[in-house]
């Protein structure tokens, strides 16, 4: 508190000791987060990790129980009022009876120095949909309109919550190309996702959230390596779990009936050892672990998510 007067930073986002509870549930539990100008940061975590709640507090849509939030050096509500923030929320709605162009033009008109509407549509890849009524759009196309609304303010900070939900693979790729175009022009981007690949490919930095806390924060490559867990599955009716768990590269061994599942930090080594030491094992299967497993590997906790 005493440092408030001297911390005149130009950070796009500066959050400290942020906390928010809903009844008995602590959704955000002491989050510290900084986004530097021009930085692209992924807020990565499973559903219920507190990503959305954090973003809503950043945008002034809900108020923290405690902690401080500064966006572009301002109070969140003031930052949004200043027009410096572009945001895309999952819960964002559109007016069915307007065209795409009218919608973007309407929001552009609320800002002091917006991008040309055509440019925003182009960035969102919907230049050809300008005259289409919102009610005729697919889910993925609606997402792109929401993205156009987030960029048309020409914001210093873009905050995007699960931006690629409902997008097909093609659209998703185009979306990230557009997002990088944004970031290259010096804007900061903070996006929430529960896809590790997306965070890894698109962010300079990954902030990993679980159960309302930040459990890791660092360059994408570092986080990716830390959470890049794989699972080896095999049919092995008789096999001692303790021995399996002690194989090289294996961090956890579990059994469901005749199937054993090995959670691995080095799947290659684990597989080799498994083939050598367990002649009875068959039906091998190696796959990337999902994010929840990654959290287990990283936090060592048993996923007490809220």
């Amino acid at each position: 508190m005493t440092t408030d007067l001297v911390t005149q930073t130009q950070d796009a986002v500066s959050v400290s000791a942020l906390r928010k509870t809903f009844g008995a549930v602590t959704a955000v539990d002491g989050v510290d987060l900084t986004v530097a100008p021009g930085e692209v940061v992924a807020l990565l975590g499973p559903n219920g990790a507190g990503k959305t709640t954090t973003i809503e507090m950043l945008l002034g849509l809900s108020r923290p129980d405690s902690g401080t939030v500064r966006v572009l050096g301002l109070d969140p509500v003031a930052a949004v009022r200043s027009g410096g923030v572009g945001a895309m929320l999952q819960s964002g709605g559109l007016l069915r009876d307007l065209s795409v162009g009218e919608t973007v033009r309407l929001v552009a008109a609320m800002h002091r120095s917006p991008l040309p509407v055509g440019r925003a549509l182009e960035l969102a890849g919907i230049g050809d949909l300008a005259d289409r009524r919102i009610e005729t759009l697919s889910g993925g196309q609606r997402q792109r309109v929401l993205f156009a609304l987030a960029v048309v303010p020409d914001p210093g900070l873009a905050v995007l919550a699960e931006p690629t939900v409902a997008m097909d693979v093609e659209t998703r790729r185009a979306f990230w190309v557009a997002m990088h175009e944004l970031a290259q022009e010096g804007r900061s981007v903070l996006f929430a996702t529960h896809y590790l690949d997306e965070a890894d490919q698109s962010a300079d930095r990954i902030v990993l959230m679980a159960a309302g806390r930040i459990v890791a924060d660092g360059p994408a490559t570092q986080i990716k390596a830390a959470v890049d867990v794989r699972r080896v599955r095999a049919t092995l009716p008789a096999g001692d779990l303790d021995r399996l768990a002690s194989l090289p590269g294996v961090s956890l061994a579990e059994r469901q009936g005749a199937t054993v599942t090995l959670t691995c930090d080095d799947a290659d080594a684990a597989l080799r050892a498994l083939v050598e030491t367990e002649p009875g094992a068959c039906d091998f299967e190696v796959r990337g672990a999902d994010l929840e497993d990654a959290f287990l590997a990283l936090t060592g906790s048993t996923g007490d998510r809220s």
Partner: protein
């Protein structure tokens, strides 16, 4: 900014068949079909003049409540949340709805009067026409505020039904369908005097009758404005607190 906002809202109205047919069309048709059924004088003007004023007010009320109902729809669809991510202040949003309501009320007023003029059923001087339309338009303002309140009170699903009920009751018991005067039962007079419609129609025909609402009438209008504003403020706060 305001021009784009208002312009977009107006375009939405004229794109909406419900507004074009029911809000503007129905009062004109009612006037043309039923207006001739009334004979003699009502409140010192010809029955047709009395009925024309009432239908003009009826259409204008439908228009402002219809715009208010959009708030319910926009809260449901998440558009309100989208707007909270823009510099548009909440009061600007509400003011925009009131202004839009006022603007789309005008065609409803004018067209019913035009029907009265063109059929020769109502004969007024140019000044009187201007006064009737102008006063009717200003007098509708309390209902525009009530419409915003109802928009925050109802949901997208039931907003049309709520509006329909409100228009029906306020018309029936507010002296729009049939005259409510000294010969009416006490309970009906008391009810009518507590409704904005009664006073709005009285103000609208005042240029012809020279009868203005007493202090009590103005107070009733003020209470309805306060009620609408209170509903709106409560709904807005509820939205602001809603976290999901």
């Amino acid at each position: 900014m305001t021009f784009t906002y208002l312009g977009t809202e107006l375009r939405r109205s004229f794109r909406n068949p419900r507004y074009v047919f029911f809000t503007i069309g129905v009062p004109v048709v009612l006037f043309l079909v039923i207006g001739n059924a009334f004979k003699g004088d009502v409140f010192g003007v010809s029955a047709q003049t009395w009925y024309m004023v009432n239908m003009a007010v009826f259409g204008a009320i439908g228009a402002v409540l219809g715009v208010g109902a959009r708030i319910a729809d926009e809260r449901d669809s998440g558009w309100n949340r989208q707007l909270r991510l823009t510099p548009l202040p909440p009061l600007g949003y509400v003011a925009g709805k009131v202004m839009t309501g006022m603007l789309v009320a005008l065609p409803a007023l004018v067209l019913v009067c035009l029907a009265g003029r063109l059929t020769g059923a109502v004969q007024l001087g140019a000044t009187q026409w201007a006064e009737v339309i102008g006063l009717g338009w200003v007098a509708i303002l309390p209902m525009a505020v009530v419409g915003v309140g109802l928009g925050y009170f109802s949901s997208g699903d039931n907003a049309q039904a709520v509006n329909g009920g409100v228009i029906m009751l306020m018309s029936m018991f507010g002296g729009i369908w049939f005259p409510i005067d000294a010969t009416s039962p006490d309970w009906l007079r008391v009810t009518a005097h507590s409704l904005p419609t009664y006073w709005i129609t009285q103000i609208t025909r005042a240029p012809l009758t020279h009868v203005w609402p007493a202090a009590g009438g103005w107070a009733v209008l003020a209470v309805w404005v306060a009620l609408g504003a209170r509903l709106a403020a409560r709904g807005y706060r509820r939205d602001a607190l809603r976290a999901a």
